[in-house]
Assembly symmetry: C2
């Protein structure tokens, strides 16, 4: 199935020609006449397949820049390619700071847009991949009991079972049990794996209770 390109532009003729161009290039296209209309389409903002957004900067109502900001704030991983007839430099800077893939002033060559869209879709694929991995890791973490989670965080600091036991004020035996469950649930074959999973999952090491020195 071809990747989807969303197009948001208030000018019907632009929508029409963009849709035609993109379809002929093999993409699935969905157009919207305004930012509001796009926002109304919930599934569009968290597509299951990699997708990207071709967005007009200047539109009645919510501007393209504002729409992008909203999407970023919402954590939507939808790379944006801006097109504009009347853009200025501060606007461009803002858009790029917010992670836009490209910012094309009209008129632009068709190849320019297509290149930008390709790049945006490539980025979308990367983001999707990373998000999926992170989600899977977080899913596994969510199956840990509170105690197991504690042990998990200590283990990835490289501490010995004995030390962790002292930290949690339990016996080494208990730590071993929890630790084994953590390895199982996280599907890690070694401490090395566990450390990598923790890094990707953004797990911070705990701060110690006791001060040995």
């Amino acid at each position: 199935m071809p990747p989807t390109v969303f197009v948001v532009d208030d000018d019907p003729s632009v929508r029409k020609s963009l849709e035609r161009l993109l379809r002929l290039s093999g993409f699935h296209v969905q157009t919207f006449a305004s930012a509001e209309e796009f926002l109304a389409c919930r599934p569009c903002q968290k597509p299951k397949e990699p997708a990207c957004l071709v967005l007009d900067v200047r539109m009645p109502g919510i501007s393209g820049i504002n729409l992008q900001q909203e999407l970023v704030k919402a954590g939507t991983l939808l790379p944006v390619v801006f097109i504009t007839g009347h853009g200025d430099i501060p606007m461009t800077v803002q858009a790029m700071k917010n992670g836009a893939v490209d910012f094309l002033p009209k008129p632009f060559a068709e190849e320019e847009l297509l290149a930008a869209v390709e790049q945006a879709l490539a980025k979308a694929a990367r983001l999707h991949q990373e998000a999926a991995e992170k989600a899977e890791i977080e899913r596994r973490i969510s199956t840990l009991t509170p105690r197991e989670y504690e042990v998990f965080r200590w283990v990835i600091t490289g501490m010995l079972n004995k030390q962790i036991a002292a930290e949690l004020k339990v016996t080494e035996k208990t730590v071993k049990v929890h630790r084994a469950r953590v390895m199982q649930k996280m599907q890690a074959a070694s401490v090395a794996d566990l450390v990598r999973l923790a890094e990707k999952g953004g797990i911070s090491p705990p701060r110690r209770d006791s001060f040995p020195e």
Copy 2:
């Protein structure tokens, strides 16, 4: 000691006023009349302290954009704040894609420039920190003998000594010795530490020789 701000602009009056503004704001300032002049200053491109570059886009000879590109290619970690009198959107996009912190069309408010410079210096501090860490890790890795390096790469995959020994076609004993040296030289207290050092140092796991299945 205050951080340094490099200023490159062909207009003497701009240099003068920028230098004055930045000095009054507490920065150490060094000005250049052209990209060539800046490039001639070798130490400026790899400063020991965090620094940043305020750069005019349009200049005779090498343009600001090209200078930035050269610096990026050379791996210089010098955040750039662009200023320009006659910039256009494609130029802005290019500059931002190359990692510019900001792109200010003249005339701009003094506060705008100062804010951008502050941000650039903050970024410089981060980059410096990261580069220093990476350099230190690479220094440690460079002290490893070839064999130790091999063992290092296998250890961080989480393999057992026995398995590594089979992989290298030596006895488990030998692996233990190398492994101990690796831990020493890398200054790692645990496998968890070692894995993190490897990640930061960009060490890739080796591909296996033998196929157990």
